[in-house]
């Protein structure tokens, strides 16, 4: 903290913590409106003529990655179980969608929904095994799941083996644009809502201290599995549409380990355990990736690596997480820290306050409610 105050002299004068705090309060108070407004803004470009071409694809991909990063974060960030195997859900979804569309001539919506369901069921089964593990062991086990799933798809006939599947009758790009946007908005709504419920609190508690959560009466396996299935549902839905979007899938693209790393980088850079963080991270990093791939041909990975390192150094808890910490720090010193110091100096404060407890609680409850809505 002391180094922060030294380093951030400039930041402090340009953007004082209380400003950031106000901004967070504002976003907190108008969260739903903000989501709605973002959804509307996201829906506009095609209505104003953006119907095909490079930009269309890039923005669609940004939505897609935001879905994947936010899904990763439900388990990796909110619950503290960093998965290197989320792309397995994506692959299962992609193959389910592709097989249903191509071999069973199922309609696009039904294929996509089935993809989500398959991925969720798969997650439930796998979760029972891997969610028993913690930390590094969990990470490695999930990577194992991804690699195994990839190999299985390579060996099976129905998946088209190593050569994969080519899909025809691809709908226009705008369909995918709105599909990915729709799934993303739905997921943001779900995650945002959950983060204010008991269920969301429990996931955070598991992240912070699973043993304590258990000692408090939570059967953590149950909540971890639910979170894992939720992540799989959205990832699977996105995967289900991806085959058509890309017109082609094979084991390498469907179970893409490099993408899995990208998802993690996106969530980390944006801020894990937040709703906005992974989305912002996905938009930001995907933009950077697109940019360096055209501007620094042959050096794109170097530039990308630099971008990641700079972000992580500048924002150790991700953009959103670090700013929130910065704002909260002010909160602590201005209100909490002072209150606590006074009490300590006073010594006998305890009983006085206890006597006036009821009044204070009433008025506080009122302010809290207004703030919460």
């Amino acid at each position: 903290m002391s180094t922060e105050s030294d380093d951030n002299g400039l930041l402090r004068s340009v953007l004082p913590p209380e400003r950031v705090d106000q901004l967070f309060d504002l976003c907190g108070a108008h969260g739903w409106k903000l989501i709605l407004a973002s959804a509307v803004v996201g829906a506009l470009p095609p209505l104003f003529g953006l119907r095909e071409g490079y930009m269309m694809t890039v923005i669609s991909e940004m939505f897609l990655f935001a879905i994947l990063a936010l899904s990763w974060d439900i388990v990796g960030g909110q619950t503290g179980y960093p998965s290197f195997g989320n792309m397995a859900f994506f692959g299962i979804g992609a193959y389910t969608g592709a097989i249903l569309l191509k071999d069973f001539a199922v309609s696009f919506p039904l294929a996509v929904v089935s993809a989500g369901v398959f991925a969720t069921v798969f997650a439930a089964i796998i979760g029972l095994i891997v969610l028993r593990l913690r930390g590094h062991y969990f990470a490695i086990a999930t990577l194992g799941v991804l690699l195994a799933a990839q190999q299985i798809s390579r060996n099976l006939e129905i998946t088209g083996g190593a050569s994969g599947k080519i899909l025809f009758d691809v709908p226009p790009g705008v369909v995918f644009y709105y599909f990915f946007l729709g799934v993303l908005v739905a997921e943001i709504i779900v995650v945002y809502y959950l983060s204010s419920t008991r269920f969301g609190f429990i996931l955070n508690a598991i992240r912070d201290d699973e043993g304590k959560a258990t000692a408090m009466g939570f059967n953590t396996t149950y909540y971890k599995t639910a979170a894992w299935m939720l992540a799989a549902l959205f990832t699977g839905l996105a995967g289900g549409a991806y085959g058509l979007f890309n017109t082609f899938i094979d084991p390498q693209t469907a179970y893409n380990g490099a993408w899995n790393v990208e998802l993690i980088a996106m969530a980390l850079m944006g801020g894990t355990g937040t709703v906005a963080g992974p989305v912002i991270g996905a938009f930001g990093l995907h933009t950077v990736i697109e940019y360096v791939e055209t501007a620094f041909v042959g050096w794109q990975l170097v530039m990308l690596g630099l971008a990641v390192i700079v972000t992580v150094i500048g924002f150790p808890k991700g953009v959103v997480g670090t700013l929130r910490e910065y704002a909260n720090e002010m909160d602590y010193y201005e209100r909490g820290g002072m209150a606590a110091t006074d009490a300590a100096a006073d010594g006998s404060g305890g009983s006085d306050v206890a006597a006036s407890t009821t009044d204070a609680a009433d008025s506080d409850a009122d302010t809290e409610v207004t703030r919460d809505e």
């Binding site: 508690a205 201290d209 953590t220 720090e329 606590a340 407890t357 409610v369």
Partner: protein, 255 residues
């Protein structure tokens, strides 16, 4: 305390022959304890005596090698830890454990048992009465200004108080406290005694606590058990314990 003299029927907690071995070490050796409704019972003994391990066997964090644990007449020996907690057992850890990444308020909300595990309760947002309760408890321990602060930022003593009010929030029948006074400053200690008494009187929590601070434990406990090398070497009122020859030799030492 009248409860201390009551018969076995009102035992909130009973352990019978609890034994826990770690390899060749018998950390807890066939220990019987009984805690009755409304009591504050102390558990003392030298470092490494097996006090925390006994707590762990009661809460289901560890599985005892031998013996039974009964909570309010129910044999919970083979229950999973979370289920024992749900049955009304609250616990504070020796090393203080709260959820550092969450706001203080969320820590408290989480601790509230109402809402439970049913889907409806899980997906509802905390209601006004619960929020009011969090404010009330935070004001009570003088940490009212810290509700929205990330719990991990608090000082050790503050975290300890938060863990305590979390326990109150869950309205436990029986609260196990592992060294509540450890690391607490002297003036705060007075408050802590008040708080624990109030939890016992007003919230009707039966309390079983481990403590090395002898002034503290002698003042607050109705009865005390003494453990040394895993064995229960004494049981009695603070008065009796202070004058017990074995306890003086094994733990208290001479003036």
């Amino acid at each position: 305390m009248t409860a201390a003299t009551a018969n076995a029927d009102d035992a909130v907690l009973r352990t019978e022959g609890i034994t826990k071995r770690f390899g060749g070490l018998t950390a807890v050796d066939s220990v019987d304890v009984e805690v009755h409704e409304g009591e504050i019972v102390g558990l003392i003994g030298p470092n490494g005596a097996g006090k925390s391990t006994l707590f762990n066997c009661i809460t289901g964090t560890l599985t005892a090698d031998e013996g039974r644990v009964t909570l309010q007449g129910q044999d919970v020996t083979d229950w999973p830890e979370y289920k024992i907690a749900r049955a009304g057992l609250g616990r504070m850890f020796q090393e203080t454990r709260i959820f550092g990444g969450m706001s203080v308020r969320k820590n408290l909300l989480l601790a509230a048992q109402e809402g439970g595990a049913d889907i409806g309760g899980l997906l509802r947002r905390p209601d006004d009465s619960l929020l009011a309760r969090t404010n009330e408890l935070l004001e009570y321990v003088d940490l009212g200004g810290l509700a929205e602060t990330r719990a991990g930022r608090l000082s050790f003593g503050q975290q300890k108080l938060i863990e305590f009010v979390m326990a109150l929030m869950s309205e436990p029948e029986l609260l196990l406290m592992d060294e509540p006074a450890g690391g607490i400053n002297p003036s705060m200690l007075e408050n802590l005694i008040e708080y624990i008494r109030a939890a016992n009187d007003e919230e009707e929590a039966t309390i079983f606590l481990i403590e090395h601070n002898m002034d503290f434990v002698m003042e607050i406990a109705d009865r005390i058990y003494v453990l040394a090398h895993g064995e229960r070497i004494a049981e009695g009122t603070p008065e009796e314990i202070q004058n017990d020859e074995r306890v003086i030799n094994a733990y208290l030492g001479r003036e």
